[in-house]
């Protein structure tokens, strides 16, 4: 009887305890996705590729804003975007230096994981996807080499020089080209990498191959205005509206804003590859070789190509140009009657737009030069200056100008504090001594209505040409 009673108690206790499953308070479920849930699954590469595209958008947000500020393209009138870069005061403890190094490393490590873990484990993966993974890793190397003086390749290890990053980029672009030989993107990327490494022969050859592959080639980084990231530079150029914004050099006024709000849900893309670049490389090679006639033809071809590119007409009245009366420093030309001149040079008309009416802006490529301007060029230096003006105009708001100016960032303070292999030399920037720190300086006299004049203190393209022998700039010279 006793046994039965004990058995009954045990049974009842077990019955009662069964309910504990319903009340287990320690059961928590991580709603996030962890690495184990994606590696080795079919189509994981497709998801990873979208991640890389998003990282490209994030990386370009960093590249573009500080990149454009560190040039004569844009001046930061009063925003919370970087102001030190505007004056070429580039220090290793600047938060933007760290943010950009982080984004480039994130892009590279993401592509690395894609190449080494995701793609091999994905039964549905294609060669074209692997080529794109190599392209993205190569692009991270390319940006590292073009923007930084030195930067670690292996996380936590010593910083390696820019040239080694460019060489790594070339290896990855070659791997991509081997997997997808018809793709103009990889050829154009190789042309750009060779160009920056000063390898004129390979750069010109790959530029030619790219034009053959696709004579109108374009590659973009897209933003997601709804889910983010949206375009930071667009924000700086146009969206911030009445608070404050970045203002272009008045001679580039007709090109601004290249990025604008297409709609409430669509931001402008960034053109990171344009076939114009292949022509520009070829023209520069021709000038370097003394083939000015060839350069003349190529540069006119560029003008023709640019003429085929899309424009957009939109209301830019909120952005405006003139700021408060109390901050006359920032008053800028905003009427079509205003002329613009570099100090000591002839004034040019037609460069300034009236923003009270809808504006028409070239959103891919634009240039102020016409065939007659090219025909008027005489010397090699004339050609070089015009070519670099073309590069400046065509690449405006695409983060390319600072590379042409030879500016190189240091390794960031955060890297230095957390990585014992960083040297004292790594943490200093390289800014060519011949660059004026007030590249954006202008004077604007609006006292005579209909005859407003704006004078730009420095013609930076002329300065570049004057210093063409400097290793930091004009790689074919």
């Amino acid at each position: 009887m006793k046994k039965i009673r004990i058995s009954l108690i045990v049974f009842c206790a077990a019955w009662l305890m069964n309910g504990c499953d319903l009340t287990d308070p320690t059961n928590v479920v991580n709603p996030n996705v962890t690495e184990e849930t994606i590696v080795g699954t079919p189509n994981s590469t497709s998801l990873w590729m979208v991640g890389l595209q998003r990282q490209m958008a994030l990386t370009y947000n960093e590249v573009l804003v500080i990149g454009e500020l560190a040039t004569d393209n844009y001046v930061n009138t009063q925003t919370f975007f970087n102001q030190a870069f505007d004056a070429l005061d580039i220090r290793f403890n600047d938060a933007d230096v760290n943010a950009l190094a982080f984004d480039i490393a994130d892009l590279k490590e993401s592509a690395n994981t894609g190449i080494n873990a995701i793609h091999p484990g994905d039964t549905e993966a294609t060669n074209a996807q692997l080529a794109e993974l190599h392209f993205h890793r190569g692009w991270a190397y390319l940006l590292a080499g073009e923007i930084f003086k030195t930067l670690p390749d292996v996380p936590g290890e010593a910083a390696i020089p820019a040239a080694t990053h460019i060489a790594n980029a070339i290896s990855d672009f070659q791997a991509a080209e081997a997997l997808d030989a018809a793709n103009a993107s990889y050829k154009l990327a190789l042309a750009r990498a060779y160009y920056f490494s000063g390898d004129q022969a390979n750069a010109v050859a790959k530029a030619g191959e790219a034009i053959t592959a696709d004579a109108a080639y374009l590659r973009t980084v897209e933003y997601d205005a709804v889910n983010l990231p949206d375009g930071d530079l667009q924000d700086a150029l146009q969206d911030r509206g009445n608070f404050d914004d970045l203002q272009p050099l008045p001679s580039l006024d007709f090109l601004d804003p290249k990025q604008y709000a297409i709609s409430a849900t669509e931001d402008s893309p960034i053109y990171i590859q344009k076939i114009e670049e292949a022509h520009l490389i070829i023209a520069e090679g021709q000038i370097a070789d003394g083939n000015l006639a060839g350069a003349n033809t190529t540069m006119k071809a560029i003008i023709a190509l640019v003429g085929t590119r899309a424009t957009a007409t939109f209301d830019d009245s909120v952005e405006g140009r003139t700021n408060d009366a109390t901050t006359s420093t920032f008053n800028r030309p905003d009427v079509t009657t205003a002329t613009v001149a570099f100090a000591g040079e002839a004034a040019r008309a037609g460069l300034v737009l009236d923003r009270t009416a809808p504006v028409t802006i070239p959103v891919i490529s634009g240039t102020s030069l016409v065939d007659a301007d090219i025909d008027a060029l005489v010397t090699e230096d004339d050609y070089l200056e015009a070519l670099y003006l073309m590069r400046q105009e065509i690449f405006i708001a695409e983060g390319r100008r600072w590379m042409d100016l030879g500016i190189k960032l240091p390794v960031s303070e955060v890297e230095q504090l957390s990585n014992a292999n960083i040297t004292a030399s790594d943490i200093t920037a390289a800014v060519p001594a011949f660059l004026p720190t007030n590249m954006d300086a202008i004077t604007y006299d609006a006292s005579t209505a209909g005859a407003e004049t704006c004078v730009i203190t420095h013609n930076v393209n002329a300065i570049l040409v004057a210093n063409k022998a400097d290793a930091a700039v004009l790689p074919f010279h």
């Binding site: 998801l47 009063q78 919370f80 982080f102 994130d106 404050d244 909120v318 009366a325 990585n419």
Partner: protein, 943 residues
Amino acid sequence: MKRILLLCFVFFTAFAFSALAQRTVSGKVTDDTGEGLPGVNVVIKDTTLGTTTDLDGSFSLTVEEGATLIFSFVGFESQEIEVGARSVIDVTMGGAIELQEVIITGQGAGISKNRVATTVDVVSGADLENKPLTRLDQVIQSALPSSQILMSSGAPGTASIVRSRGIASAALSTTPIIYIDGVRVDNLNTASQLNVGTGGAQSSALADIPVEAIDRIEFVKGGAATTLFGADAGNGVIQIFTKKGTAGKARFSFETQLGANKGTADYFKYDATGDIVFRTGFTQTYRVGASGGNENVTYNFTGSIFGDNGFREGIENQRYSLRTTINASLSEKLNLTSSLGFVKNNFTRLPNANTSFDRAYGIEQGLATGTFGLSTNIPSDWTADDINIVEQLISDVARTVDITEVVTRFQNSQSLTYDPTDKLSIKGTFGVDYRYSKAQDITTNEYLIVQQSEAPGTTDQGSIEVAERNFLSTTGSLNIQYQESINDFSFITIVGGQFFRNDDRQTEINATNVVEGSKSVNNASEVTAEDFIQTVTNYGYFGKENVGYKDRYFVDFGFRVDYNTAFGTDVGGQFFPSFGASYVVSNEAFFDGLTNVVSFLKLRGTYGEAGNFPAPFARAANLAVNPFLGGTAIQPFVPAAPNLSPERVKTTEFGADIRFLDDRISVGVTYYDSKTEDALFTAPFAPSFGLSARQRNLGTISNKGWEIVTSFNVVKNTDWDVNLNLSYNTVENLVESTGGAAEFNIGGFTFLGPFVTEGLPLGYLRGAQPTFDESGATIDVERNTDLGKTLPDFFGSMTLNVTFKQRWSLFVTGDYQKGGFGVNTNEVLRFFRGLDDDRVPEASKGVSFFDLGGVWVEKSDYLKIRNISLAYSMPNEWFNDIVKNVRVSFTALNPINFFAATNFDPETTGAGARTQNAVNVGGFGYGTFSAPRQYLGSIKFNF
């Protein structure tokens, strides 16, 4: 027929009354000095009938023949008196019992304060009774002598900074965890993870903890005193006990409070700002209460309705609250307490602080002349036309803005206490707190056009943002207390276990290109959504032994072992020990001769550990998954952290409590030395890793200081009772180590904000310090340098309480801080608009503001009088005893501010915490309004 029934009723009624032979007994209850004692319970024995004495100590009661009355009052022995044939019974309550205050929080169960070796701050119900305040953090602002409560914004229901003993964590808000009747409740005092972008008006869960029903608040500071809360209490614990009612006839109260609100213009640079933006707001509060019961069941009910139509057009708040607590003896040994509360809060908000849509602070910062058609952006130079334009703008913004938040909250707590013997007590508690909030921001095209953000005629920029948060916290605990005395030794043994689980689920919906006029996200061209889920369970067991010898030597040992679902997978139970000793010197025989001067002396010392658990799921190798251009973007995010542990706050404190001259002067002195080890730092990895920062056990933070709390009974006689309380607290905070990690930002701007780095106080302001030469030109810039710390060197509070003839009372509170720094962010923005003062010399006006950071850092010293209140209790004979007591009071809130900064409120901070429940060190005087001046009149009836 109807008439016959009526006659029968009258007959039976008359018969019933005659059979009971009732009559009225009245009298007066006094203490042994002859003073009338108000509030004495007078209950007819073996019934639920009774009353309480009025302010004079008088009572009147209808009794039956042969009844016995029981007179009871806290602090006196109860008396039973047979009525007999008397109609007047005067009673002198003698045998005053020397009450020893009992502390519950941090002790596992109730324990006499004398036996406790740590400091515990207590706010009694009587302290709260006459404060016309409506939210918890305001209530404790001057009542906790060693804590600071900084109201980050004057907008109703917004977040505050609550801190004591410096900043122990770089990972968490300094707000202590909060328990109500033993149940952990939502203490979120920052914006939620998903929220609408109002630019800093961040709603706080502290705003919907009703204050009407509070009987008592205990606050124990983090570390030594909170060991029994384990991995959850590094920042301390506030425990609220609700009123349970006292036996006796039902007592009712009704209170009406009406008042005017006027925005504080003290911190504005321009008079025009206050003139244009502020209006006189109107507040109204209605409270009802009922309490009573018998020997077996007591109850307390409170309800209130509060309305505030705002000191600015567009800021409103309505609140409705109910709470009922019932205490029932189920048997001689079994007792049940049940408490249930409900609160509903409605807010309307305006954009402020960190948004360019804050047009009110835009006035202070220089509205763009071209944009708004003003002749100048200098408000002091505005013409009548300019003022009209700006008034119209402010009015149009208020008319077209549509930002609302609704909060609904239920709390309950059930406790069952079983006392099988006098020595053994077993208590189980279970309860939940559920808080739902929905914030909604409807941005119409009209609003954007009014704001001059979009061109007139725009039709496709309207948007709706909705953020919902569902928070459910469940708490269960079981405590067993055993008391034993052997000869001169007394033992209190406590063992128990506790768990809580927090489920935090949030959803945010964004709709763009919304059809004008729609209030639904359905009427949009594009709708996106995201969610946030955070679940954590903490569970553990604890024990504590408190040993007393001869009622003057006490030692205690305690521990808690905690498990938590947020700990790394390789981290098991975490052991938190504590040890303390106290010595009541004044209980020694040799002290007898001194007691005329020193009436009480206790020395105490303790060491204890408590923790803060890591962020839920931070331990996992999480990938970042985001929608992007119609696809799913998966990216590496953070690596796994199997060893992620709680940070440990280890505190040693020593102190003494001394009372002089028959307790008329009391002084408490405490020195604390607190060290947070394995501090959770969200420090960046080296950027070459390309990995996002996540919590790591990297740091060591120390906080040291003195806490001196004094109380003076300046005058006490039959007419006057004057009490003055003053406190002085020092804090020395230092980040001793960052574990090799680089410094990191925890708020503000990156060019000028609070950072964490080795060798400097947590949240020191980092920025550039320029040096100007005689001509005013900038000759040097030291970037990323230490511009000052946000924590003050010392702070404290003061309270003056004057009572005259027990009818008049004057109540004044205030607090102060000194030695900290803050950023005058308004002045930074004025610099952009050319409205700056002369701090940047003319020759340096062209220098980037990034390099001028140091010029905007100012002292954040202040002394603020928070409350001046005058009350009068009317004699009840004025009302022929129909109403037991009528109390009328007039109060001025926030009447006087003294501050060192040029023109910003060092208390407000527009920057807010970076993420949900993140640390906020304050120090950013920025675009948000200070707590308004309020002038309140209230009248309270007790029936």
